[in-house]
Protein backbone atom coordinates (compact mmCIF):
# COMPACT_ATOMS: atom_id res chain seq x y z
CA UNK A 1 0.00 0.00 0.00
CA UNK A 2 1.26 3.49 -0.70
CA UNK A 3 0.70 6.77 1.09
CA UNK A 4 -1.33 7.93 -1.92
CA UNK A 5 -3.63 4.91 -1.64
CA UNK A 6 -4.10 5.48 2.06
CA UNK A 7 -5.08 9.09 1.38
CA UNK A 8 -7.52 7.99 -1.32
CA UNK A 9 -9.09 5.35 0.89
CA UNK A 10 -9.49 7.73 3.80
CA UNK A 11 -11.04 10.46 1.67
CA UNK A 12 -13.47 7.92 0.21
CA UNK A 13 -14.86 6.96 3.62
CA UNK A 14 -18.57 7.66 3.83
CA UNK A 15 -19.61 5.55 6.79
CA UNK A 16 -20.92 6.67 10.15
CA UNK A 17 -18.99 9.52 11.71
CA UNK A 18 -16.11 8.33 13.85
CA UNK A 19 -14.17 10.20 16.49
CA UNK A 20 -10.52 9.47 17.07
CA UNK A 21 -8.74 11.10 19.99
CA UNK A 22 -5.08 11.95 19.57
CA UNK A 23 -3.98 11.86 23.17
CA UNK A 24 -0.64 13.53 22.75
CA UNK A 25 -0.14 17.24 22.15
CA UNK A 26 2.84 16.64 19.89
CA UNK A 27 0.52 14.60 17.68
CA UNK A 28 -1.95 17.49 17.69
CA UNK A 29 0.84 19.85 16.64
CA UNK A 30 1.95 17.49 13.88
CA UNK A 31 -1.63 17.04 12.64
CA UNK A 32 -1.86 20.78 12.10
CA UNK A 33 1.66 21.15 10.80
CA UNK A 34 0.99 18.56 8.13
CA UNK A 35 -2.54 19.67 7.39
CA UNK A 36 -3.87 16.18 8.20
CA UNK A 37 -7.41 17.34 8.90
CA UNK A 38 -7.73 18.67 5.37
CA UNK A 39 -6.87 15.17 4.14
CA UNK A 40 -9.71 13.48 6.02
CA UNK A 41 -13.38 13.26 5.07
CA UNK A 42 -16.03 14.89 7.30
CA UNK A 43 -16.84 11.47 8.73
CA UNK A 44 -13.45 11.05 10.38
CA UNK A 45 -12.93 13.48 13.20
CA UNK A 46 -9.69 13.91 15.08
CA UNK A 47 -10.08 15.34 18.55
CA UNK A 48 -7.34 16.48 20.88
CA UNK A 49 -6.90 14.83 24.25
CA UNK A 50 -5.33 15.62 27.62
CA UNK A 51 -1.73 14.89 26.63
CA UNK A 52 -0.35 18.35 27.05
CA UNK A 53 1.28 18.72 30.47
CA UNK A 54 0.99 22.47 30.34
CA UNK A 55 -2.76 22.32 29.75
CA UNK A 56 -3.59 19.93 32.54
CA UNK A 57 -1.33 21.44 35.18
CA UNK A 58 -3.28 23.19 37.92
CA UNK A 59 -3.07 26.91 38.37
CA UNK A 60 -2.16 26.29 42.02
CA UNK A 61 1.02 24.71 40.72
CA UNK A 62 1.92 27.82 38.73
CA UNK A 63 1.10 29.97 41.77
CA UNK A 64 3.57 27.95 43.84
CA UNK A 65 6.29 28.48 41.28
CA UNK A 66 5.59 32.19 41.02
CA UNK A 67 5.76 32.48 44.80
CA UNK A 68 9.13 30.77 44.95
CA UNK A 69 10.48 32.76 42.02
CA UNK A 70 9.90 35.99 43.88
CA UNK A 71 11.85 34.91 46.96
CA UNK A 72 15.33 36.15 47.70
CA UNK A 73 18.01 33.73 46.42
CA UNK A 74 15.55 31.49 44.62
CA UNK A 75 15.56 30.68 40.93
CA UNK A 76 12.98 28.67 39.03
CA UNK A 77 14.24 26.39 36.29
CA UNK A 78 11.70 25.38 33.70
CA UNK A 79 11.08 24.17 30.19
CA UNK A 80 9.99 26.89 27.78
CA UNK A 81 6.49 25.41 27.69
CA UNK A 82 5.57 26.54 31.19
CA UNK A 83 6.58 30.17 30.78
CA UNK A 84 3.33 31.44 29.36
CA UNK A 85 0.83 29.55 31.51
CA UNK A 86 -1.13 31.75 33.82
CA UNK A 87 -1.64 30.82 37.42
CA UNK A 88 -4.42 32.48 39.33
CA UNK A 89 -2.46 35.74 39.27
CA UNK A 90 0.32 35.61 36.75
CA UNK A 91 2.55 33.50 34.54
CA UNK A 92 6.27 32.87 35.01
CA UNK A 93 6.93 35.25 32.12
CA UNK A 94 5.11 37.99 34.01
CA UNK A 95 6.81 37.08 37.27
CA UNK A 96 10.17 37.34 35.53
CA UNK A 97 9.24 40.76 34.19
CA UNK A 98 8.45 41.76 37.77
CA UNK A 99 11.97 40.82 38.83
CA UNK A 100 11.67 37.14 39.75
CA UNK A 101 14.43 34.79 38.67
CA UNK A 102 13.27 32.28 36.11
CA UNK A 103 15.47 30.43 33.66
CA UNK A 104 14.48 28.29 30.70
CA UNK A 105 16.39 25.03 30.29
CA UNK A 106 16.34 22.34 27.64
CA UNK A 107 17.35 19.51 29.94
CA UNK A 108 16.76 18.89 33.65
CA UNK A 109 20.29 17.55 33.82
CA UNK A 110 21.68 21.03 33.15
CA UNK A 111 20.19 21.98 36.51
CA UNK A 112 22.74 19.77 38.26
CA UNK A 113 25.60 21.78 36.82
CA UNK A 114 23.95 25.03 37.74
CA UNK A 115 23.29 23.97 41.31
CA UNK A 116 26.92 22.91 41.74
CA UNK A 117 28.23 26.15 40.28
CA UNK A 118 25.99 28.52 42.20
CA UNK A 119 25.74 27.09 45.68
CA UNK A 120 24.18 30.21 47.14
CA UNK A 121 21.15 30.06 44.87
CA UNK A 122 18.26 27.77 45.67
CA UNK A 123 17.01 26.23 42.46
CA UNK A 124 13.55 24.80 41.99
CA UNK A 125 12.95 22.72 38.91
CA UNK A 126 9.42 22.84 37.53
CA UNK A 127 9.15 19.11 36.90
CA UNK A 128 6.17 18.72 34.61
CA UNK A 129 5.50 16.05 32.05
CA UNK A 130 4.39 12.50 31.47
CA UNK A 131 6.11 9.14 31.48
CA UNK A 132 8.60 10.23 28.84
CA UNK A 133 10.11 12.91 31.05
CA UNK A 134 9.69 11.12 34.40
CA UNK A 135 12.82 8.93 34.08
CA UNK A 136 14.85 12.05 33.36
CA UNK A 137 13.67 13.50 36.66
CA UNK A 138 14.69 10.21 38.25
CA UNK A 139 18.17 10.61 36.74
CA UNK A 140 18.20 14.12 38.09
CA UNK A 141 17.36 12.81 41.57
CA UNK A 142 20.15 10.26 41.25
CA UNK A 143 22.63 13.02 40.40
CA UNK A 144 21.35 15.27 43.20
CA UNK A 145 21.94 12.53 45.77
CA UNK A 146 25.24 11.41 44.28
CA UNK A 147 26.63 14.95 44.33
CA UNK A 148 25.11 15.74 47.70
CA UNK A 149 23.35 18.78 46.24
CA UNK A 150 21.31 20.74 48.76
CA UNK A 151 20.24 23.69 46.65
CA UNK A 152 18.10 21.99 44.01
CA UNK A 153 14.56 20.77 44.59
CA UNK A 154 11.74 19.57 42.40
CA UNK A 155 8.27 20.98 42.21
CA UNK A 156 6.51 18.09 40.58
CA UNK A 157 3.48 17.82 38.41
CA UNK A 158 4.28 14.55 36.68
CA UNK A 159 1.38 12.64 35.24
CA UNK A 160 0.62 9.14 34.04
CA UNK A 161 -1.48 8.84 30.94
CA UNK A 162 -3.26 5.55 31.67
CA UNK A 163 -5.60 6.82 34.42
CA UNK A 164 -6.66 9.65 32.12
CA UNK A 165 -7.36 7.22 29.30
CA UNK A 166 -9.37 5.03 31.66
CA UNK A 167 -11.36 8.05 32.73
CA UNK A 168 -12.05 8.93 29.09
CA UNK A 169 -13.12 5.37 28.26
CA UNK A 170 -15.47 5.37 31.25
CA UNK A 171 -17.02 8.75 30.66
CA UNK A 172 -16.74 9.70 27.02
CA UNK A 173 -18.51 6.96 25.11
CA UNK A 174 -18.40 8.90 21.87
CA UNK A 175 -14.70 8.42 21.39
CA UNK A 176 -14.29 5.49 19.02
CA UNK A 177 -10.54 5.07 19.14
CA UNK A 178 -7.28 6.42 20.49
CA UNK A 179 -4.13 7.48 18.71
CA UNK A 180 -1.67 6.66 21.48
CA UNK A 181 1.26 8.90 22.40
CA UNK A 182 4.43 7.71 20.67
CA UNK A 183 7.07 8.86 23.09
CA UNK A 184 5.21 7.98 26.27
CA UNK A 185 4.88 4.51 24.79
CA UNK A 186 8.65 4.35 24.29
CA UNK A 187 8.93 4.26 28.09
CA UNK A 188 5.75 2.41 29.06
CA UNK A 189 5.67 -0.08 26.20
CA UNK A 190 2.68 -0.84 23.99
CA UNK A 191 1.31 -3.41 26.42
CA UNK A 192 -0.16 -0.84 28.82
CA UNK A 193 -3.08 -0.22 26.46
CA UNK A 194 -4.00 -3.90 26.11
CA UNK A 195 -6.40 -4.13 29.00
CA UNK A 196 -8.25 -0.94 28.11
CA UNK A 197 -8.56 -1.97 24.50
CA UNK A 198 -10.03 -5.33 25.46
CA UNK A 199 -12.34 -3.99 28.15
CA UNK A 200 -13.78 -1.17 26.07
CA UNK A 201 -13.34 -2.80 22.66
CA UNK A 202 -11.63 0.21 21.17
CA UNK A 203 -8.62 0.55 18.88
CA UNK A 204 -5.44 1.88 20.52
CA UNK A 205 -2.91 2.59 17.82
CA UNK A 206 0.60 3.86 18.57
CA UNK A 207 2.23 6.03 15.96
CA UNK A 208 5.25 8.20 15.34
CA UNK A 209 5.04 11.90 14.58
CA UNK A 210 5.58 12.26 10.85
CA UNK A 211 2.51 13.09 8.80
CA UNK A 212 2.73 9.71 7.09
CA UNK A 213 2.80 7.93 10.46
CA UNK A 214 -0.36 9.66 11.52
CA UNK A 215 -2.27 9.00 8.31
CA UNK A 216 -1.27 5.35 8.45
CA UNK A 217 -2.47 5.16 12.05
CA UNK A 218 -5.82 6.74 11.20
CA UNK A 219 -6.18 4.25 8.39
CA UNK A 220 -5.32 1.36 10.70
CA UNK A 221 -7.92 2.58 13.19
CA UNK A 222 -10.51 2.79 10.44
CA UNK A 223 -9.72 -0.75 9.32
CA UNK A 224 -10.03 -2.08 12.85
CA UNK A 225 -13.40 -0.40 13.23
CA UNK A 226 -14.61 -1.56 9.82
CA UNK A 227 -13.70 -5.11 10.60
CA UNK A 228 -15.00 -4.97 14.11
CA UNK A 229 -11.69 -6.08 15.52
CA UNK A 230 -10.32 -3.38 17.72
CA UNK A 231 -6.98 -3.94 19.37
CA UNK A 232 -3.64 -2.49 20.27
CA UNK A 233 -1.44 -1.91 17.25
CA UNK A 234 2.07 -0.55 17.39
CA UNK A 235 3.01 1.32 14.24
CA UNK A 236 6.07 2.92 15.84
CA UNK A 237 8.16 -0.20 16.26
CA UNK A 238 11.40 1.61 15.51
CA UNK A 239 11.22 3.05 19.02
CA UNK A 240 8.32 1.42 20.88
CA UNK A 241 8.50 -2.14 22.15
CA UNK A 242 5.87 -4.17 23.94
CA UNK A 243 7.56 -3.93 27.31
CA UNK A 244 8.94 -0.40 26.92
CA UNK A 245 12.14 0.84 28.49
CA UNK A 246 12.17 -1.19 31.67
CA UNK A 247 15.31 0.38 32.98
CA UNK A 248 13.58 3.75 32.82
CA UNK A 249 10.44 2.37 34.43
CA UNK A 250 12.47 0.88 37.32
CA UNK A 251 14.27 4.15 37.82
CA UNK A 252 10.98 6.03 38.02
CA UNK A 253 9.79 3.53 40.66
CA UNK A 254 12.89 4.02 42.73
CA UNK A 255 12.17 7.70 43.33
CA UNK A 256 8.51 8.23 42.60
CA UNK A 257 5.22 6.70 43.66
CA UNK A 258 1.71 7.04 42.25
CA UNK A 259 -0.55 9.56 43.93
CA UNK A 260 -3.92 11.11 43.18
CA UNK A 261 -3.39 14.15 41.02
CA UNK A 262 -5.40 17.06 39.76
CA UNK A 263 -5.89 17.56 36.02
CA UNK A 264 -6.95 21.03 35.05
CA UNK A 265 -10.25 20.70 33.26
CA UNK A 266 -10.86 17.10 34.35
CA UNK A 267 -10.52 17.01 38.10
CA UNK A 268 -8.71 14.69 40.45
CA UNK A 269 -7.85 11.20 39.21
CA UNK A 270 -6.72 8.32 41.39
CA UNK A 271 -3.04 7.34 40.99
CA UNK A 272 -2.64 9.63 38.01
CA UNK A 273 0.33 11.56 39.36
CA UNK A 274 3.86 10.64 40.30
CA UNK A 275 5.30 12.18 43.44
CA UNK A 276 8.62 11.82 45.15
CA UNK A 277 8.59 9.00 47.70
CA UNK A 278 8.49 10.02 51.30
CA UNK A 279 12.15 9.20 51.88
CA UNK A 280 13.04 11.79 49.24
CA UNK A 281 10.64 14.35 50.63
CA UNK A 282 13.43 16.82 51.38
CA UNK A 283 13.97 17.20 47.64
CA UNK A 284 10.36 18.16 47.11
CA UNK A 285 9.78 21.90 47.05
CA UNK A 286 6.26 21.42 48.35
CA UNK A 287 4.50 20.05 45.32
CA UNK A 288 0.81 20.36 45.84
CA UNK A 289 -1.43 17.48 45.00
CA UNK A 290 -4.54 19.53 45.34
CA UNK A 291 -7.57 17.36 44.91
CA UNK A 292 -9.88 20.26 45.52
CA UNK A 293 -11.82 21.20 42.41
CA UNK A 294 -10.39 24.28 40.85
CA UNK A 295 -13.10 26.10 38.97
CA UNK A 296 -12.25 27.16 35.45
CA UNK A 297 -12.82 30.80 34.54
CA UNK A 298 -16.43 31.62 33.80
CA UNK A 299 -17.55 30.49 30.38
CA UNK A 300 -14.34 28.53 29.75
CA UNK A 301 -14.99 25.22 28.03
CA UNK A 302 -11.55 23.73 28.47
CA UNK A 303 -13.04 20.68 30.15
CA UNK A 304 -15.13 19.87 27.12
CA UNK A 305 -12.20 20.52 24.85
CA UNK A 306 -9.79 18.32 26.80
CA UNK A 307 -12.36 15.55 26.92
CA UNK A 308 -12.93 15.85 23.20
CA UNK A 309 -16.61 16.74 23.55
CA UNK A 310 -16.31 19.91 21.54
CA UNK A 311 -13.89 21.50 19.16
CA UNK A 312 -12.35 24.72 20.47
CA UNK A 313 -14.38 26.81 18.01
CA UNK A 314 -17.54 25.70 19.82
CA UNK A 315 -16.46 27.50 23.00
CA UNK A 316 -18.23 30.85 23.34
CA UNK A 317 -15.02 32.53 24.47
CA UNK A 318 -12.88 31.20 21.63
CA UNK A 319 -11.33 33.96 19.54
CA UNK A 320 -13.77 36.50 21.04
CA UNK A 321 -12.42 36.77 24.56
CA UNK A 322 -9.86 34.00 24.71
CA UNK A 323 -6.81 34.42 22.46
CA UNK A 324 -3.16 33.40 22.79
CA UNK A 325 -2.32 36.92 23.98
CA UNK A 326 -5.08 36.85 26.55
CA UNK A 327 -5.62 33.19 27.34
CA UNK A 328 -8.59 32.49 29.59
CA UNK A 329 -8.25 28.73 29.74
CA UNK A 330 -5.19 26.49 29.80
CA UNK A 331 -5.88 25.01 26.35
CA UNK A 332 -5.20 28.38 24.75
CA UNK A 333 -1.85 28.88 26.43
CA UNK A 334 0.27 25.99 25.38
CA UNK A 335 1.82 25.52 21.96
CA UNK A 336 0.24 22.11 22.26
CA UNK A 337 -3.07 23.12 23.73
CA UNK A 338 -5.96 22.34 21.44
CA UNK A 339 -7.36 25.88 21.55
CA UNK A 340 -4.00 27.52 20.91
CA UNK A 341 -3.33 25.24 17.98
CA UNK A 342 -6.81 25.78 16.55
CA UNK A 343 -6.51 29.51 16.95
CA UNK A 344 -3.22 29.68 15.13
CA UNK A 345 -4.05 27.24 12.41
CA UNK A 346 -7.69 28.10 11.92
CA UNK A 347 -9.79 25.54 10.11
Amino acid sequence: MTLEQVKQELLGYEGRPIKIMEVCGTHTASIFKNGIRSLLPPGIQLISGPGCPVCVTSSAYIDHLVQYASRENYCILTFGDMMKVKGSRMSLTEAKAAGAKVQVLYSPLTAIKMALEHRATNYIFAAVGFETTAPIYALMMEAIIENNIKNLQLMTSIKSILPALTFLCDNEKEIDAFLCPGHVSVITGSSIYQELSERYRKPFVIAGFEGGHILAAVYEILQQLLRGRPGVKNLYTSAVSEEGNQRAVQLIRRYFEPAPDYWRGIGSLEASGLRLKQEYGSYDAGSSFETREEPLPKGCKCTDVILGRIHPVACPLFRKVCTPMNAVGPCMVSTEGACGIWFKNGN
Binding site: M1, G12, I187, Q223, L251
Partner: protein, 89 residues
Protein backbone atom coordinates in the same frame (compact mmCIF):
# COMPACT_ATOMS: atom_id res chain seq x y z
CA UNK B 1 3.12 15.61 24.65
CA UNK B 2 6.77 14.97 24.31
CA UNK B 3 9.13 16.21 21.67
CA UNK B 4 11.86 13.68 20.98
CA UNK B 5 14.33 13.68 18.15
CA UNK B 6 16.44 10.98 16.49
CA UNK B 7 20.21 11.30 16.27
CA UNK B 8 23.38 9.26 15.93
CA UNK B 9 25.84 8.50 18.72
CA UNK B 10 29.27 9.79 17.68
CA UNK B 11 31.19 9.84 20.95
CA UNK B 12 30.70 8.23 24.34
CA UNK B 13 32.15 9.64 27.54
CA UNK B 14 30.94 7.96 30.71
CA UNK B 15 27.25 8.62 31.31
CA UNK B 16 27.05 11.07 28.43
CA UNK B 17 27.32 10.82 24.67
CA UNK B 18 27.60 13.27 21.84
CA UNK B 19 24.70 12.83 19.51
CA UNK B 20 24.55 14.15 15.97
CA UNK B 21 21.15 15.44 14.91
CA UNK B 22 21.50 16.54 11.29
CA UNK B 23 24.92 18.10 12.00
CA UNK B 24 23.90 19.56 15.34
CA UNK B 25 25.95 18.03 18.10
CA UNK B 26 24.26 17.84 21.45
CA UNK B 27 25.23 16.10 24.64
CA UNK B 28 22.81 13.51 25.99
CA UNK B 29 22.72 11.33 29.06
CA UNK B 30 22.84 7.63 28.20
CA UNK B 31 22.04 6.00 31.53
CA UNK B 32 18.58 4.86 30.45
CA UNK B 33 19.83 2.65 27.62
CA UNK B 34 22.85 0.69 26.46
CA UNK B 35 24.28 2.42 23.44
CA UNK B 36 27.31 2.01 21.24
CA UNK B 37 28.98 4.26 18.70
CA UNK B 38 26.94 4.59 15.52
CA UNK B 39 23.61 3.74 17.17
CA UNK B 40 20.62 5.82 16.20
CA UNK B 41 18.82 6.96 19.32
CA UNK B 42 15.84 9.00 20.40
CA UNK B 43 16.64 12.01 22.62
CA UNK B 44 14.16 13.75 24.87
CA UNK B 45 15.10 16.68 27.12
CA UNK B 46 18.81 15.93 26.97
CA UNK B 47 18.49 12.23 27.54
CA UNK B 48 18.59 9.18 25.30
CA UNK B 49 15.33 7.33 25.91
CA UNK B 50 15.66 4.51 23.38
CA UNK B 51 17.77 3.02 20.63
CA UNK B 52 16.03 3.26 17.27
CA UNK B 53 15.78 -0.04 15.50
CA UNK B 54 15.22 1.20 11.99
CA UNK B 55 15.43 4.57 10.31
CA UNK B 56 12.49 6.74 9.42
CA UNK B 57 12.44 5.93 5.72
CA UNK B 58 12.62 2.23 6.47
CA UNK B 59 9.87 2.51 9.06
CA UNK B 60 7.65 4.38 6.63
CA UNK B 61 8.02 1.53 4.12
CA UNK B 62 7.36 -1.07 6.77
CA UNK B 63 4.40 0.92 8.02
CA UNK B 64 2.57 0.85 4.76
CA UNK B 65 3.23 -2.84 4.21
CA UNK B 66 1.93 -3.45 7.71
CA UNK B 67 -1.36 -1.62 7.22
CA UNK B 68 -1.85 -3.17 3.82
CA UNK B 69 -1.95 -6.47 5.59
CA UNK B 70 -4.55 -5.07 7.94
CA UNK B 71 -6.63 -3.89 5.03
CA UNK B 72 -6.73 -7.21 3.24
CA UNK B 73 -9.99 -8.97 4.17
CA UNK B 74 -9.20 -12.14 6.06
CA UNK B 75 -12.63 -13.69 5.72
CA UNK B 76 -15.80 -13.29 3.76
CA UNK B 77 -17.85 -11.16 6.07
CA UNK B 78 -15.17 -8.53 5.96
CA UNK B 79 -15.35 -5.56 3.65
CA UNK B 80 -16.74 -6.28 0.24
CA UNK B 81 -16.80 -4.49 -3.04
CA UNK B 82 -15.03 -1.53 -4.44
CA UNK B 83 -11.54 -1.60 -3.01
CA UNK B 84 -10.67 2.02 -3.45
CA UNK B 85 -13.52 3.74 -1.72
CA UNK B 86 -16.91 3.98 -0.07
CA UNK B 87 -16.75 1.93 3.02
CA UNK B 88 -18.90 2.00 6.05
CA UNK B 89 -18.46 1.07 9.61
Amino acid sequence: MCVAVPGKIIEIDGDFAKVDVMNNITSANIKLVDVKLGDYVLIHAGCVIEVIKKDLAEEMLWLFSEIEEAAAPKNDEAIKGDKASKKEV
